[in-house]
């Protein structure tokens, strides 16, 4: 069956520039610092709990707890530390840790320390339950269109019910993400830079929820956006997609 839908993933690619920049800066900082103990022997076997055939060794969660936390440097110079276990949630930091470039201070330009605190708070909360491989597996490259339809009573139910929120983090997330718009967008941008998929998902979903079902004027008001259409252009647009403006 031919597929005429382009299977384009909708996740933004992680910033290659940001990673290289952070690596270089971390390497330079490490070189000037006292020689860190050789961690090659400390790098242990792959996680026994993982069911993937990943050959690349990943530090055990328990071992990580003994290793010193990472130090992130915000744009205002303030240093924010993050445990290694929490840092795994950031794809960028994970790669730095694997490459042993995470010993010195890691710059996070364009991220204010207040925002960085929030991001670290999120990672510390979710870190203990985070499994990178499970996250990759669950991360469907072709996410289905979010259709909010409830199944009929008579439909076939799966034999084993999988609790989508086994650690009760949904409520915590809801409180966490109740931020003013300005902070919310800063958190999204920081999550994008550090490549923290779960936090990015939480942020973008929250913004989408704020936009859903709203008229253009309402959206402009919520997000303080200037209307740069002329009245004629706007009328034309509404006519073109008349069905969308029906109610």
């Amino acid at each position: 069956m031919d597929s005429t839908a382009d299977p384009k993933g909708k996740r933004p690619l992680y910033q290659e520039d940001g990673l290289a920049y952070a690596r270089a800066a971390a390497a330079a900082a490490s070189a000037t610092a006292a020689a860190a103990p050789d961690e090659e022997e400390a790098k242990p076997k792959p996680k026994p709990s993982s069911s993937s055939e990943e050959a690349k060794p990943e530090p055990e969660a328990e071992d990580q707890a003994e290793m010193p936390p990472l130090v992130l440097v915000a744009e205002d110079g303030v240093e924010v530390s993050i445990s290694r276990r929490a840092a795994r949630m950031s794809h960028m930091l994970r790669l730095l840790m694997e490459d042993s470039c995470a010993d010195g201070p890691i710059p996070a330009p364009n991220v204010h320390s207040d925002i960085l605190d929030l991001v670290v708070q999120y990672c510390e909360k979710h870190g203990p339950y985070y499994d990178p491989e499970a996250s990759e597996r669950a991360r469907n490259p072709f996410p289905p269109f979010p259709v909010e339809l409830t199944p009929t009573v008579s439909s076939i139910k799966p034999v084993t019910y999988v609790d989508p929120d086994p650690h009760g983090l949904k409520d915590w997330d809801k409180d966490f993400i109740s931020l003013d718009n300005s902070t919310l967008f800063e958190v999204i941008l920081a999550a994008n830079y550090l490549n923290i998929e779960d936090l990015l998902d939480l942020g973008t979903t929250t913004v989408a929820d704020m936009m859903r079902g709203k008229k253009p004027e309402e959206i402009r008001e919520i997000f303080e956006i200037e209307n740069d259409y002329t009245p004629e252009q706007e009328a034309e647009l509404r006519k073109e997609n008349a069905w969308a403006f029906e109610d």
Binding site: M1, F145, T152, E186, M211, I219, W243
Partner: protein
């Protein structure tokens, strides 16, 4: 102002999490929003992951310039599948794939040797062009065994979507015995019954505004032997009149889960009574995304 700090790709992600209707509305917010809202990234998410193969000439020969254009084309009017027996249309609100099986695509009772009992008749269809098969309906005049069924593979439908099946029909000449006994309608997936109910084809739900004004909830069309005295109970599903003048009756509902390919079977039967049923004209069966559940 802060939302404008988001790079375009993140704005696209946000919009792709809303809906086709929201995407059209946000295009009217500002030019920057329009660029994101009209992008292929967004509309790729609204289009079904798998589209069926369509018949020749259904989609314009040159590739449509955008995913939004493709969505528009498939949502605005049905597209015929090869063989021209079945057509597909996207539900604008949900992006779900909805199908119409023409009467020729259904299995209808063998009509026996008497020409008077049933035949194919021509009907006026103006919503689909080039569909000779769609312009034919099955007319039943004196069938003892009413057994109409249609099948479709579940992989053709949208995953994780609730569907409702409808039979589109009319009551024509020599109307007889479609009021009682009530017909049995059922839907099964992979051989397991999902929904079963009784319907009364000769009844018709009255318009809501009339009911509010004091009219009864339904009426029953008189047959050739006179008015009907049947009173369908609460659980008997009644047909309603469509905007195009045809009737439709909901045959059943089911939920298409994200799983391997199964056969969805929809049927309408009346095989218990020994009388000849007459006057039914079947145009087809429609499968539409449903937003309510029983």
């Amino acid at each position: 102002m802060e939302i404008e700090r988001l790079p375009e790709e993140l704005l696209q992600v946000v919009i792709s999490l809303t809906s086709p209707q929201d995407a059209c509305r946000t295009a009217a917010v500002s030019r920057a929003f329009r660029a994101a809202a009209d992008s292929d990234v967004v509309w790729s998410c609204f289009l079904p992951r798998d589209l069926p193969r369509f018949g020749r000439k259904q989609l314009p020969r040159s590739p449509l310039s955008s995913k939004k254009g493709l969505f528009e084309r498939l949502a605005a009017q049905p597209a015929l599948l090869p063989g021209k027996l079945v057509s597909m249309q996207l539900d604008r609100v949900t992006g779900a794939k909805c199908y119409t099986m023409s009467a020729r695509a259904l299995r209808v009772p063998s009509w026996g040797d008497t020409r008077r009992s049933s035949r194919w008749i021509h009907i006026e269809i103006d919503f689909i062009t080039g569909g000779k098969r769609f312009s034919e309906a099955a007319q039943f005049l004196g069938v003892r065994r009413l057994d109409i069924s249609g099948k479709i593979r579940s992989k053709m439908l949208s995953e994780n979507t609730a569907y409702a099946a409808y039979m589109v029909f009319k009551l024509g000449e020599r109307l007889h015995r479609l009021d009682f006994p009530f017909q049995e309608a059922s839907v099964s997936v992979g051989g397991i019954q999902q929904s079963t109910r009784q319907v009364c084809l000769q009844a018709c739900l009255n318009e809501e505004e009339d009911v509010v004004a004091g009219a009864p909830p339904y009426h029953i069309l008189p047959s050739i032997v006179g008015p009907s005295t049947v009173t369908p109970g609460e659980d008997v599903v009644l047909p309603r009149r469509r905007a195009d003048g045809w009737m439709e009756v909901e045959l059943g509902q089911f939920y298409n889960e994200e799983c391997d390919d199964r056969e969805v079977s929809i049927s309408l039967t009346e095989i218990t009574s020994n009388v000849d049923k007459s006057g039914l004209i079947v145009r087809g069966v429609e499968l539409r995304a449903s937003t309510t559940c029983e």
